[in-house]
């Protein structure tokens, strides 16, 4: 016991209060009421948070109780069945993992497999997206000395602009992609590995909203982008290293401030 631990020291010398245990027991017993009254009296955001937490606790408790009950039941069942006859088709423990596959099941599996392969080429995780109107995509920018010309457009969504992009002279520049909304990296999830990597974007393959947006490099939800996967060390069937892969954007980039995409494999 270190020198400064005066609470412990005192406890060691003089012990606890004579009714310490009793008080603790009572406190424990009353805690349910305290919690209930708190849950009852809280209001606003505090109540929301508290109730959420309570909900979680209760769910866990319920699960635990269920588990206990099931175990007890199982034990009872086991006891009951011990003296009954062995069921038909029962297999000894060392043969359990050798599943007998019925012929019909094999057939159905192969059909499913084939269908999946066929469809897989064109399948994307987000097959449908909401159409974005042009006035939502672009903001009109007034130009000219009197600010009376309205032929320029500012892109209001996140865009990808390649490294070698050079601006046209402002006089001919119809579409402006603001610096603050340009993105270079995407958080790409590999669906099989269930891991996420932060990868460089190489380009926009297709924007479902239209060809113009693809050309402008606008990244909206559902856009297929090309990402640099050279660091992941993926290899093709023929043994070549894969440099880039396609991924579909799964979120509204302009609302979240980041690109979350799913690798298309």
């Amino acid at each position: 016991m270190p020198q400064g631990d005066y609470i412990d020291e005192h406890r060691k010398k003089y012990g606890r209060r004579f009714d310490y245990e009793e008080k603790e027991r009572k406190k424990e017993a009353r805690s349910v009421r305290v919690v209930a009254s708190k849950a009852h009296s809280l209001t606003g955001i505090k109540a929301k948070l508290y109730n959420k937490q309570r909900f979680k606790e209760k769910a866990i408790m319920k699960k635990k109780i269920n588990m206990h009950q099931q175990r007890n039941k199982k034990n009872k069942d086991a006891d009951a069945s011990a003296d009954k006859d062995v069921k038909k088709g029962a297999v000894p423990g060392y043969l359990l993992d050798r599943e007998e596959v019925t012929r019909s099941k094999v057939l159905s599996n192969t059909v499913k497999q084939k269908r999946k392969e066929k469809a897989g080429k064109w399948d994307v995780p987000l097959p449908k997206v909401r159409a974005v109107a042009e006035d939502e995509m672009f903001k009109v920018m007034k130009s000219g000395k009197r600010k009376n010309k309205e032929w320029k457009r500012v892109v209001t969504k996140a865009t990808f602009v390649g490294d070698n992009f050079t601006r046209k002279p402002p006089k001919y520049e119809r579409f402006i992609r603001p610096m603050g909304l340009r993105v270079k990296k995407a958080n790409v999830t590999h669906p099989e590995l269930q891991t996420t990597f932060c990868l460089d974007i190489l380009g926009v393959k297709k924007n479902p909203q239209g060809q113009t947006y693809t050309q402008l490099g606008v990244i909206t939800k559902g856009t297929v982008i090309e990402v640099n996967v050279s660091d992941l060390g993926l290899v093709t069937n023929s043994g070549k290293v894969v440099w880039s892969k396609y991924a579909q954007v799964m979120n509204n980039v302009e609302n979240d401030g980041c690109v979350n995409a799913r690798l298309l494999v």
Partner: protein, 711 residues
């Protein structure tokens, strides 16, 4: 001087608490109401403020943590090493480094999202961006759960570290486990260290304080050290090593030759040898503990030699029991002038159980350390700097004559007497002084010897002497009444005086000069009585002689005066509503009274009335004027004509034909004026009002809705 107090570090919250605190603070301290219809700049500013505020709160809280925890590079090496031993330096630095990194990341997130918020074009988008920003900051903090937890534990432990001052005078108690280090510590200081008959009772550093030579000393008890290599040492032992390595202290190395501790003597001596590098430049005293177990007789020759080889023993000093006679210089010389190259130490015997030699060990250690510190200070640069500036002037001798100080012969005689008395008392008490059987260690040896019968320098019994005779401090209560000197009789001093009499505290009524004052009063009264008598006598002698008739009149006058006084008093003090004199009629009360009075006095009725009216006329003007109105005065014809002509003349001067025209004009004017007043809601000519045509509050400040021209 830096004071190491780690108690001030604020609690480190857990990551969930951290997030809760920060978010609820943002919620409380920033505006919460925003609407879609607001200007987009306003909506953007609303959300940007939230993001910025959250970031600054995170920043502030993290900075607080980072600033609170001491930086190992800036600490005294002792504390730096102790923290390394206890909490692992790498772990400590990593945890703080992670928080520093988190801080900069939070700043980065805020910067990014503020940039994005500038392009927010709807409330929904701004809100989503804000949500994402706060969410990312909170996730970031959640990742540092373990760092925060670790830092909180470190904080709690650090707050309870003993506050050791590495710079002050320190005695360091070291040695094998169970050799009696803590027992010694408990004897010399008030630190209450646990003492048990098994090894490793003490598991951390303990600090205690004591006084010696009017100085504060710090004593540090360390956990026991075993005799093995540094790599094998555990955290408990490493604390001792840290203290030994970094504190400039006198080391008391405890050895238990009786081997009651469970470790062999040669092991202990081996440890002492092995640790030699740590003892360099420090006074080292080897303490052979537990002498009460009589190990000296049972010691084998081998062991005896091994002990003798350690260094010069101070047995002599210990046996004589006289602390002051240990000569520090001699000790130093002894310990340094050893022929072989092995380091030599001062060796002392002691027993903390029978309390033998404790005081000696302590004082030798303190003296050695003090000597060393003083030497170091003298050698230091600062000292020479001070000495260079010192100059003691010695006046050159003028001639060969001696000039001793002059002491008057009477004073000299008195001094001689005092000396003699002191000699006599010293001879009487010298016996008590020599047997110094119980060394009271916590008491300072330098304090004056208690229980001396008489103070020799004053030659009379002091209250302090009386105290020692009558049971010492705490028992003795001083008798103040013995000092009551101004009483007429000595036995009055012990009279019982009540504190409260009739509900009064008598102390409030005590007047030391009361007797004197009373005497003065009596004398004054006597004088006054005498003076009065004298006057009476004088009057008796040649007072005015009145006839019986005169006396009668005087009596009547006095009676009348008394009656009047009574009446007026009744008039004055009556408490009821009364009719004012002006309403009573033309005759005032004064008049009535006067008339009645004059009648009574025997004046003729009409005369009395005239006189009364005459007097009343001289009264204040207002009353006189009233009276005049009441008295009808007949105007003669000529007088009337005269008056009219005068009035006409005045009217003509003003441009009218006559007074009538003037009056008419006046009337017409008044009527017209009244019409105007009625129209303008005026009460009269005096009721003039200049309206404020351009009230300031309507024509200054901000303007909303429209323009100056059109609104």
């Amino acid at each position: 001087m830096v004071v190491y107090n780690f108690k001030k570090i604020q609690t480190v919250p857990t990551s969930t608490e951290f997030v809760d605190v920060v978010l609820s603070r943002t919620q409380r301290k920033t505006p919460t109401v925003v609407h879609k219809g607001y200007a987009i700049t306003r909506i953007r500013a609303f959300y940007m403020r939230k993001v910025k505020y959250t970031q600054s709160t995170f920043h502030e809280k993290l900075t607080q943590i980072l600033d609170d925890f001491p930086r190992l590079e800036e600490l005294h090496p002792f504390y730096a090493d102790l923290i390394n031993v206890l909490y692992d330096r790498d772990h400590y630095k990593l945890a703080l480094g992670q928080l520093a990194k988190a801080r900069s990341l939070v700043d980065g997130i805020a910067k990014d999202y503020l940039k994005l918020l500038k392009y927010g074009d709807s409330l929904y988008r701004c809100k989503q961006l804000k949500r994402a920003a706060l969410g990312r900051m909170c996730t970031l903090m959640k990742r540092h759960t373990s760092s925060l937890q670790y830092l909180e534990q470190v904080r709690q432990h650090m707050g309870r570290l003993p506050s050791i001052d590495p710079a002050t005078r320190t005695l360091l108690v070291a040695g094998f486990p169970n050799v009696g280090k803590s027992s010694f510590m408990n004897k010399v200081t008030r630190a209450d260290v646990d003492v048990q008959p098994y090894a490793f009772t003490t598991k951390s550093l303990f600090v205690g304080h004591m006084d010696y030579k009017y100085l504060r000393w710090q004593v540090i008890d360390t956990p026991g050290i075993l005799d093995h290599s540094l790599e094998e040492r555990n955290t408990i032992e490493m604390q001792s090593i840290t203290a030994l390595a970094h504190l400039r202290a006198a080391v008391l190395f405890f050895i238990d030759p009786s081997e009651q501790c469970g470790y062999a003597l040669h092991q202990q001596i081996e440890l002492l040898r092995g640790m030699a590098p740590l003892f360099q430049n420090k006074p080292l005293i080897v303490v052979l503990n537990k002498t009460d177990l009589q190990w000296e007789e049972e010691l084998s020759d081998e062991h005896r030699q091994a002990l003798a080889a350690l260094g010069p023993s101070v047995d002599q000093a210990v046996s004589s029991g006289n602390v002051e006679s240990i000569d520090v210089d001699a000790l130093l010389e002894m310990s340094q002038s050893k022929p072989d190259d092995q380091p030599a130490h001062v060796v002392m015997k002691m027993s903390s159980l029978s309390e033998q030699g404790i005081a000696q060990v302590r004082s030798v250690a303190c003296d050695l350390l003090l000597r060393q510190r003083v030497d170091a200070k003298l050698r230091g640069k600062r000292m020479s700097g001070a000495l260079n500036r010192l100059h003691v002037a010695q006046p050159a001798a003028r001639d060969a004559r001696r000039r001793p100080p002059v002491i008057p012969s009477s004073v000299q005689r008195k001094l001689d007497d005092l000396d003699k008395a002191a000699m006599a008392t010293a001879a009487g008490t010298s016996d008590d002084e020599q047997e110094n059987g119980d060394p009271d260690v916590t008491m300072d040896e330098d304090t004056p010897i208690r229980g001396e019968a008489k103070n020799p320098s004053l030659g009379r019994k002091l209250e302090r002497d009386r105290m020692w005779e009558l049971g010492g401090p705490g028992v003795f209560a001083s008798d103040w009444r013995r000092e009551y000197r101004d009483l007429q009789r000595a036995e009055w001093a012990y009279d019982i005086i009540p504190e409260i009499v009739d509900g009064h505290n008598i102390a409030d009524f005590v007047d030391p000069d009361i007797e004197q004052k009373l005497l003065d009063l009596e004398r004054e009264e006597e004088a006054r009585v005498a003076a009065e008598e004298e006057v009476m006598e004088e009057e008796d002698e040649d007072g005015p002689v009145l006839t019986a008739e005169q006396l009668e009149r005087v009596r009547a006058i006095r009676e009348k005066r008394a009656v009047l006084r009574q009446e007026s008093w009744m008039e004055k003090t009556k408490n009821r509503p009364s009719v004012p004199a002006s309403r009573l009629g033309k005759r005032t009360r004064v008049e009535e009274h006067l008339e009645a009075h004059l009648n009574e006095m025997g004046m003729h009725e009409e005369d009395a009335q005239d006189v009364a009216e005459g007097i009343a006329d001289k009264m204040p003007l207002r009353k006189a004027a009233k009276r005049r109105r009441l008295v009808e005065v007949e105007e003669t014809e000529t007088q009337m004509i005269e008056r009219k002509e005068a009035l006409d003349a005045a009217a003509r001067k003003a441009g009218f034909a006559n007074a009538n025209q003037k009056a008419f004009a006046k009337k017409v004017a008044a009527r017209k004026q009244a019409k105007i007043h009625a129209r303008t809601r005026q009460h009269g000519d005096g009721d003039r009002h200049i309206p404020n045509l351009r009230p300031r509050h309507l024509f200054s400040g901000k303007r909303g809705m429209g323009k100056t021209q059109r609104r």
